[in-house]
């Protein structure tokens, strides 16, 4: 802990001294300084202008939404008095409006009062068409936001919204102060550097020094609504380096108290943890590492019709091949190699929240090379002299692409070997993440174009409602040159049955029925083997043993309850 002490800012140290003299055990700022490390540095404190997790997490210490998700995925009121529902009258019977009531007496960190017009302003700020707001997806179908009085806000949707908790719930859409951002709407949004770097908020901390992509210094908010919180007087939010270095600084050298997103080899993490300075935490949201199977033909010879529905894939359109590929994979071993505590084998693309988790596909947990071989034999795919199966001149030779990432490359190597055992030849390709996940129209290497036979990546959804996520695999979401390759239906899966379920879910409010529908959609995708789920991934972070109150949250910001953190 020596170094931690040294690292403290002068302000933190003096505050520590003064509160220590006061001797109070309940006073704000009693525990001095806390150091957080995010190996991806935060670049801005305004989540509306950068949707990166590192940025929204950093901002969540300062600006707050009306409600958050807790570590179990339940909604908790933050700035709101309570969560509006149909039962308590907050959501209208026709599901087109939701009315939020603010807590009484809320203050911004500059001492002024939080009013409903701040909420209205924030909505307008994001929905301004010139502002380039990155969270506009949360405001889909919103037609009007109005203040009924100083503490009441009514949001109206153009269509019935069975799950009306998009706007102002979760870390992506916190409330901004109207007075600070009034001149920063539309095209002016990016020019308000001071406001974007140091927003005035209602959260437990305020920014004192913001160095973009480097370090943020924060101190306790004097006007925070709970006089006994936060326990820490100041925070350093350091960015940079890599995941292993971040883990090392918490688990091995003790310089830092909390490290975010430690996606490194499990055996290294276990070894670091054995030093006894900190603990590795994990928490599971809906993130699933999966293989997307291309149902269309990616041959370069097709020109503009490459990977479009115009041509079916020469062999992956055979369900037996897809099923055999899935059968050959040893998912528990993938978890052991790549994620350890931070992963679970899964047979669903929608494994969480628990009510949506289907049990119909659990057989995939066990690898069965023999069954896969038998399946391919039965389907007429015979092994050639080189050990690779072929039928009618079509060889089972797969180009397998993913983004560059140590764990993904390990997975590629393992899966290549297993597929080799069932007579499938695999060529591996990895692409820089910014290119793979970027949408550059001129690049052939984006995950949406999928100029390969299969690709692997992870995806999830924000919040707890899977409606939009499951809608990804409707026919209308197939990426193609016509829609500029926008669309998330990578397998190019299209079935009337599935589209019918998507439409039905959009009109269903009852949670149990919605769960049934989502599970039915999941099962269609799984039983057609157009998506091969591999690992249900958790967030993995490390906290120093001296830190108390950390509740790792996969549904919201990891720093969602930093007001409750304290020193043991």
């Amino acid at each position: 802990m020596k170094i931690t002490n040294l690292l403290m800012t002068a302000a933190g140290a003096s505050l520590l001294a003064s509160t220590a003299m006061a001797g109070s055990h309940e006073a704000r700022g009693r525990d001095g300084h806390v150091n957080l490390i995010y190996w991806q540095a935060a670049s801005i404190m305004n989540p509306y202008l950068s949707g990166g997790t590192k940025d929204t997490n950093a901002a969540s210490m300062v600006v707050e939404p009306l409600a958050r998700y807790d570590e179990n995925g339940n909604m908790v009121a933050y700035l709101a008095e309570e969560i509006p529902t149909v039962a308590n009258g907050g959501v209208s019977e026709d599901l087109t409006t939701i009315t939020w009531k603010l807590k009484a007496g809320l203050k911004w960190s500059d001492g002024s009062a939080v009013t409903a017009s701040d909420v209205v302003f924030t909505g307008g700020y994001c929905m301004d068409p010139d502002g380039g707001c990155q969270q506009i997806g949360q405001f889909s179908d919103v037609t009007n936001i109005e203040a009924l009085d100083d503490v009441t806000v009514k949001i109206t949707f153009g269509v019935p919204k069975p799950f009306p908790y998009g706007p102002f719930v979760g870390q992506e859409t916190p409330i901004l102060q109207e007075a600070q951002f009034a001149d920063c709407t539309g095209v002016a949004a990016p020019t308000c550097t001071d406001a974007n770097f140091g927003p005035i908020g209602t959260g437990p901390f305020v920014v004192t020094d913001f160095r973009a992509n480097d370090t943020i210094s924060l101190e306790a908010n004097d006007n925070y609504r709970d006089a006994t919180k936060p326990a820490f007087a100041s925070v350093t939010f350091k960015g940079g380096g890599d995941a292993a270095a971040a883990a090392r600084s918490v688990l091995e050298t003790g310089e830092f108290d909390y490290a975010w997103n430690l996606q490194i080899a499990p055996e290294i993490l276990v070894q670091m943890e054995s030093k006894g300075m900190g603990t590795v935490l994990s928490s599971f949201g809906p993130l699933v590492e999966r293989i997307m199977v291309n149902m269309t033909d990616p041959s370069a010879s097709l020109g503009d019709e490459r990977s479009t529905v115009a041509h079916a894939h020469p062999f992956l359109s055979d369900i037996n091949v897809r099923k055999a590929l899935s059968l050959a994979i040893d998912r528990p071993l993938l978890v052991e190699v790549g994620y350890g505590k931070a992963g679970k084998p899964t047979c669903n693309v929608l494994p969480a929240p628990a009510i949506y988790n289907s049990t119909a596909n659990d057989a995939c947990q066990v690898q069965d090379i023999a069954a896969a071989n038998a399946l391919l034999d039965g389907a007429g795919w015979a092994r050639g002299s080189d050990g690779v199966r072929a039928k009618d001149g079509v060889r089972l030779s797969i180009l397998y692409q993913t983004s560059t990432n140590a764990v993904r490359q390990d997975f590629q190597a393992l899966i290549k070997q297993w597929w080799g055992e069932i007579g499938v030849e695999t060529e591996l390709k990895n692409i820089d993440g910014a290119v793979f996940f970027g949408g550059d129209q001129s690049s052939p290497d984006t995950f949406q174009k999928l100029f390969a036979d299969v690709e692997m990546y992870a995806n999830n959804f924000s919040g707890t409602d899977p409606e939009a996520y499951m809608g990804n695999w409707a026919c209308s979401n197939i990426p193609s040159p016509e829609n500029a390759w926008l669309g998330m239906n990578m397998p190019r899966h299209c079935s009337a049955e599935y589209d019918g379920l998507v439409a039905e879910m959009a009109e269903t409010a009852d949670i149990a029925t919605r769960a049934e529908l989502a599970m039915a959609m999941n099962d269609i995708l799984m039983q057609n083997y157009v998506i091969i789920p591999l690992v249900h991934r958790g967030n993995v972070s490390a906290s120093a043993n001296t830190l108390d109150g950390v509740a790792l949250n996969a549904w919201d910001s990891e720093l969602w309850n930093i007001a409750d953190w304290s020193r043991k």
């Binding site: 801005i44 480097d214 996940f437 998330m488």
Partner: protein, 336 residues
Amino acid sequence: MFNYTIRRLIFTIPTLLFISFVIFFILDTAPNDPTGNLPLTIPPEVREKIRISLGLDKPMFFRYLLWCQQFFVNEPLNMIEQWFNITIGDGDRLRVQSWATRSPVVDLVVERMPQTLWVVGMSYVVGIIIAIPIGVISAYKQYSWFDQIGTFISMLGFSVPTFFTGLLMIVIFSVNLHWFPSIYDTTHKVTDWGSFVFQVKQMIMPVMVLAFFNAAQLSRFMRASMLDNLQQDYVRTARAKGLKERVVVLTHVLRNSLIPVVTVIALGVPQVFGGAIITEQIFKVNGLGQLLIIGIQGADIPLVQTLTFIFAVLIVLFNLIADILYGLLDPRIRYD
């Protein structure tokens, strides 16, 4: 020489403009995308809107001219305003804005200058200070033990990449011995003896790793060049004249051997400003190198364009300085 310098300086302007255009063209053609690192929960249509709000729907040439205007007109005007505390025009002009941080790029560069100059610059100076004596002695006592060990160590220094030496030092000195911090604190201010000691402690590892690497390269060139010159006739003449060995080696031979070394140093100085990407990353120094790499990963074109252009200016400038130094070191070299 003076005429030559002026001519070169004038010719620099079209060169740099051309370089800036080529850089812009490359950045624009590169397939990475500013929305590539956003979470996948942000839908594709929103990504398209973000791209449009960044101006990516406009033609490339238009965006290049916009950058030129912002960088060559607005930024200097803004600087003048700040220095002299005056307002020119309406004072409300668009500066070069980074896409990721939405803040003026020049401010970011200024913010990061101290740590880069301290760590990378210091390592360069240390590297030169180590390399020149090693090079001179190894050449003078060719194939002695000193030379053999020096060769071995410098080759090791060059063939083992900094990502490895850096990590090794962290494991030894931070994890096991707890002597030095593994993470550089950029907000640290030196105010008294204690904070100075801390600053030295946090600088020591990155500086040494980089210095080792730089010295390895430099000492090889120094040694080779010294060896060439030690066998020249003028050395024999100087010795025959009865000059002291020290004078012969340090004044005559060293001076004549410096030409390749000066070239290497001049090539290296812009790299100091460019930061040392890997070393900065390993020790979390977050200087200009880290800024550049984050910009590239996030396809932050204005940021990368501005940074790369600043480096280009430095490269052109220091190569000019090297050319002038050649003339001073060896009067026989004439450019006119």
